[in-house]
């Protein structure tokens, strides 16, 4: 019709092609999860779903006898990390947003500065500390170090200072409410939207965490899902169908979570970026 629609069509075409590239690996993950190894290894490989998913899960469970336990452990660790983060980060965020106290800005800068430290720097000594504490192969080795992150504190501070008027806190204080009760009864109910966002980010981050468990978990029963999947590699004949089935099982919960909450999640992740 006019020039504008032509450029729109080009834009739609390019973006459409791009999204095919983005989604194709997921598609083939599901397709391969439903085929036997020999069918995946045939030329050309399958492009449509087969009926071997249950079989592949069987192969997966033969190679990883604790796979369901591994999923449960991943879920448990991610959930505990999330709960601890919501509690500690909101508490600290509340202090930074609503209190005037000596050293506040310095402490805040220090906390933000820890985000610049690359995680691999602490990898070796963390492994040593965990073995000294005899926390190897213990879920707490995963959730305690992650219980309160700088990013969560930042998010909570931003949200609390914009969503809660200081007068509300002062009114509660004047009525004789103690400081923790103010947090628990006034602040917490008002920050549930931020809880949702931070909870999602923390849960997904911990569910996908690979480096942490890699150095503290060496008993197959205590593997988290990413570690368990990795253990499928290099076991002689590589069971591609089973690997894809396991990958699909690891990814599907996140996909569902993401489809339900994508707006919230993306906004939360970029919250610090836009202002910066």
């Amino acid at each position: 019709m006019n020039k504008l629609t032509k450029s729109h069509i080009i834009a739609y075409f390019i973006v459409g092609m791009g999204s095919i590239i983005m989604l194709a690996p997921f598609y083939f993950m599901f397709v391969f999860a439903t085929h036997t190894n020999s069918s995946i290894l045939s030329v050309p490989p399958p492009v449509w779903f087969g009926g071997e998913f249950i079989n592949n899960v069987g192969i997966l469970l033969d190679a990883l006898p604790y796979f369901w336990h591994n999923i449960g452990l991943s879920f448990y660790v991610a959930l505990i990390t999330t709960i601890l983060n919501l509690f500690f980060c909101s508490l600290a965020g509340y202090a930074f947003a609503m209190f005037e106290f000596k050293g506040r800005n310095l402490m805040f800068i220090l906390i933000m500065g820890t985000m610049l430290l690359p995680p691999f720097l602490g990898m070796i000594p963390t492994a040593l500390i965990m073995s000294k504490l005899e926390w190897m192969n213990q879920p707490r080795a995963l959730y305690i170090p992650m219980a309160c992150g700088a990013m969560g504190i930042f998010m909570m501070r931003q949200f609390i200072s914009s969503a809660i008027p200081k007068e509300l806190i002062e009114a509660a204080r004047m009525d004789g409410c103690n400081e923790f009760a103010i947090y628990w009864r006034v602040v917490v109910p008002l920050i549930t939207p931020a809880f949702g966002t931070l909870g999602l980010i923390t849960f997904i981050g911990q569910w996908n965490n690979f480096m942490g468990p890699l150095v503290v978990m060496n008993d197959m029963k205590m593997f988290t899902v990413p570690l368990a999947l990795r253990a499928l590699q290099g076991t002689g004949q590589v069971p591609w169908g089973a690997i894809c089935a396991g990958a699909a099982i690891a990814v599907v919960p996140l996909m569902i979570l993401f489809v339900m909450t994508s707006r919230k999640l993306i906004d939360g992740l970029t919250a610090g970026a836009v202002k910066g």
């Binding site: 973006v15 508490l91 209190f99 103690n178 996908n208 590699q233 591609w240 990814v251 996140l254």
Partner: protein, 330 residues
Amino acid sequence: MSSVESAVRPPVVKIRKRTLKQRLNASGYKWAPYLFVSPFFVIFAVFGLFPLLFSLFLSFHYWEPAAGLGAMEWVGIENFTFTLTDGWFQTSVYNTIWIALAAGIPQHVVAIPLAYFLHTSFKRSRNTVVGMYFLPFITSSVAISLVFTTLFSRDFGMINMLFTSAGNWTVGDIQPLAWLFPTANIDWNRPEYTKTMIAFVVFWRYVGWNTVLYLSAMQTIPKDLYEAATVDGAKRWQQFWYITVPMLKPMMFFAVTLTIIGNLQLFEEPFIITGGTGGIEQAGKTAAMHMYITAFVEGDFGTASAISWILFALIAFLTWGNNKLLGEKK
């Protein structure tokens, strides 16, 4: 039971208890914030700061972990000089920087126009499309790297099949695309292709994240700028080049910084794709992987700590350079 106890308890104590509680309440305003921020500092001290200092201490020692903590031997800067002159370390740094550039530059070159398309041409479907591009970012890098190893395999990989079918496509007697695409399957595990493969997976994983960053920055650019440009007769690509790109500069700085920091620490994707070995001739071994292998496979914790500090210095230096190059000059 409790009623008996409270009846026994003298009233004086009760009153004193209340005054103490009141006193605490009044002073609560002063100590509460410190208490509220303390969990972070306690956790950081034990699992952040102490490991950091310990790894610095370790980097000046030779240590066989099996011999216990007492067996540490002070070696000065030997671990550092050894690492810096070690050919494998140099290879791993070269690999890291190669992959960081090959994955990092396209990420931004693609993400900016993509975000612009999404910003200008997509209205109702924008969130869905953004979601598709963002999905790789939230999924498990291990799971998806495993899937990519199947897609990239030589004999049955989907990617080779697509490439060779384009390369072998014939019109009459000639193969018009044979100059661009291979006509035989590529062995992606060969040293010359390993880095390309890893870089593609990293690009694929993070391009959507960068798009989202740029898209969110574009949404803050005032609309009047575009309106004024349209009145002056600027075409769409001119608006993109003369308005959008300059206005995105602060975000570019932020996003490029994140890419530098992230790509130089690359670990999971190359680790899974090369099966933890670094690939043939170590072509896919990154510096972070080199550190991991030195510590946990070879058992040399001192050298590994030195590697981690050298890598940290490298990241800090490049971030500083980026700051000089792209940072806001105010």
